[in-house]
Amino acid sequence: MLQLKNLHVSVDGTEILKGIDLEIGPGEVHAIMGPNGSGKSTLASVLAGREEYEITAGEILYDGADLTELDAETRAREGIFLAFQYPVEIPGVSNTYFLRSALNAIRAHRGEDPLDAIDFLELVKDKAKLVRLDEKLLKRPVNEGFSGGEKKRNEIFHMAVLEPRLAILDETDSGLDIDALKIVADGVNALRDTQRSFVVITHYQRLLNYIVPDFVHVLKDGRIVRSGDRELALALEDQGYEWLETAPVAAGA
């Protein structure tokens, strides 16, 4: 579904991603871990189509086609979803209205008719229940005055409504207590199926007890220095990142 080949990315002339190779198949869950500033959000943003990041080398293929040709909205319409590490407040624009415009833009792209207000409302209520989002947050402006946890849950709620094919969750677990974490994980697990893939960025192995990944990758200084299964996450929890060298070739030396 998604292939990154030797991906190099710079921002303002500073190289942040220094050659990433990663292949994500349909239905797979990949966890990406790594120290602060290692480039995790950069990777997520590049996939979502943020324009200030410059791809200096390598390629990104989505369903075999060059993803970098597409602007952010087209990527969203093609099924890519990013749950933001820091969800943005949109004063004045109601959460429901925004979501309906987004869903209908995606549907139009697929040649489907817009969902009418009643069907949409039903869908929204269903999905809000799924992530136990307070219904009063539906009418409020997007993320405005939401608590940290509400913002994160709102991201998962958007994801549940938009039903992407590739969902990237950037530290959606940060700052959540265990109950909220379980709700988020339940939301993700409810969407897991053989055709839908996830990239779960996290600092904490704790989340991976609830969203069990197929693969775990460690990103350090812009490179994937180690890949493994969920055992790797447990090892990282015990020992931190120091024992991993920056370059994978050096790891065995």
């Binding site: 979803f81 624009v93 415009s101």
Partner: protein, 438 residues
């Protein structure tokens, strides 16, 4: 320089000697007109060397002689407010055929000033001009010297008027530059309540509208006031709104500046007695070469008064906005609560804002805050919306609409709100979609 000898062919020379006279007007007004005429002639046109006009140049106007606008016909079908009481003035003259002021509720007087001023004992004759500082406002002086008619709204004590009162001032240009000076006096008696819409429109030709509006609120009066200016680009609009509020009165006034090539609005608000509250909000929506200038002058003259001002601006093209918000708190005005905020959204690289708050506080137990911002759309927010599937135009329109919504949503008259929404929709690439969001 001898100001009295304005060069022939100048604006000042073309207007200076004009003194209006209304049949039967009181001596007080006759004297006031002379005083005003002298004040205007002495001051001449303001220049950018004067602080209050630093960013607004009248050079082009100064070189353009204007004649008084001649009587004309107008079409107002799509300008009316359903269910309102209405007076319509075309080029400063009452148009009885277009007006609708017959079946007025008890306690409401709505009539042309011309007739009202002839009644020596009436509210118009005794108070007109009382709230206007002629020395500070040369164009208001010109209006005072010259005005031939206008609107009087008088509310008896305790009168509650539900339907909006619509004052529609139409300027019809005729090819040569013309000017008119509409006058409005609103006198709200103790405990009365009403909603007044002052509405300025126009068609064709270079024109100059110089309105003066006086708002007098007696104790406990509540006045909702909308000032909607949507004249054509060929127009200049230089207005004064002067309000005086007695004890526990409440003025909610919103100024919507959308039309005209050059617009200058001075708002002088005096909170004269304890417990008065003024909310003075505004929205300016400008593009191309439009120039808007708002000067607020809010004076707290008594304790326990509150004043809140929120002005928002959306600028596109090479437009320019000037905002000067002055708040003066007199030594006696303890427990004043004054909040002022001016927020500007730039949609283009060529637009420019000069925002200048000015607090002059002479009392010690007060709460006064002010803030001013000039910024572009938040790219982070645009990206967030796009990353969920909205295209850039829709995302930007939505955010721009949302920026204005705080003011637009609070407009107390539905028909006016819809007019502003239509302006917004027309100015935004995906305005119609954005409008559905609110």
């Amino acid at each position: 320089m001898d100001r009295t000898a304005a060069p022939a062919g100048s604006f000042v020379a073309s207007v200076a000697e004009i003194i209006g006279r209304i049949e039967g007007e009181p001596d007080r007004l006759v004297d006031l007109r002379l005083e005003a005429s002298r004040a205007f002639t002495a001051a001449g046109l303001p220049t950018t060397r004067q602080e209050a006009w630093r960013f607004t140049s009248l050079r082009a106007l100064a070189e353009t002689p204007h004649r008084p606008a001649a009587p004309a016909d107008a079409e107002i079908a799509d300008l009316t407010i359903p269910g309102s009481h209405r007076l319509v003035f075309v080029n400063g003259r009452l148009s009885p055929g277009l007006s609708a002021a017959e079946d007025l509720p008890r306690g409401l007087t709505l009539r042309p000033l011309a007739g009202a001023l002839a009644e020596a004992a009436g509210p118009a004759a005794s108070t007109i001009g009382g709230a206007v500082d002629l020395a500070r406002h040369p164009f208001a002086a010109l209006n005072t010297a010259a005005f031939a008619d206008g609107a009087l709204i008088h509310l008896e004590p305790g009168a509650i008027v539900e339907a909006p009162i619509h004052l529609l001032f139409v300027t019809v240009g005729d090819g040569e530059p013309t000017w008119s000076a509409p006058r409005t006096l609103v006198a709200a008696g103790a405990g009365s309540q009403a909603t007044v819409v002052e509405h300025y429109v126009g068609a064709g030709g270079e024109s100059l509208t110089l309105p003066v509006t006086e708002l007098r609120l007696a104790a406990g009066a509540i006045l909702h006031h909308v000032r909607l200016q949507e004249e054509p680009r060929s127009a200049r609009h230089i207005a004064l709104q002067a309000s005086r509020q007695a004890r526990d009165s409440r003025l909610d006034s919103v100024a919507l500046n959308i039309g005209a090539g050059l617009m200058r609005t001075d708002i002088d608000a005096v909170l004269a007695e304890p417990g008065a509250h003024a909310a003075l909000d505004g929205l300016y929506l400008v593009e191309d070469e439009q120039h808007t200038d708002t000067h607020l002058d809010v004076r707290h003259a008594a304790p326990h008064c509150t004043s809140h001002e929120l002005y928002k601006g959306i600028l596109d093209g090479r437009s320019r906005a000037v905002f000067n918000g002055r708040i003066v708190v007199d030594p006696a005005a303890q427990k004043t609560d004054a909040i002022q905020s001016n927020r500007n959204l730039l949609l283009s690289a060529g637009a420019l804002v000069n925002s200048n708050p000015q607090l002059e506080i002479f009392a010690d137990d007060v709460r006064c805050t002010h803030g001013s911002t000039v910024g572009r759309l938040d790219e982070e927010a645009v990206f967030y919306l796009r990353s969920r599937g909205l295209d850039r135009a829709t995302a930007e329109s939505l955010l721009t609409y949302a920026f204005a919504a705080e003011i637009v949503g609070a407009i107390p008259v539905g028909a006016v709100r819809e007019r502003i929404e239509r302006h917004l929709v027309a100015r935004l690439p995906q305005g119609e979609l954005a409008r559905e969001a609110f």
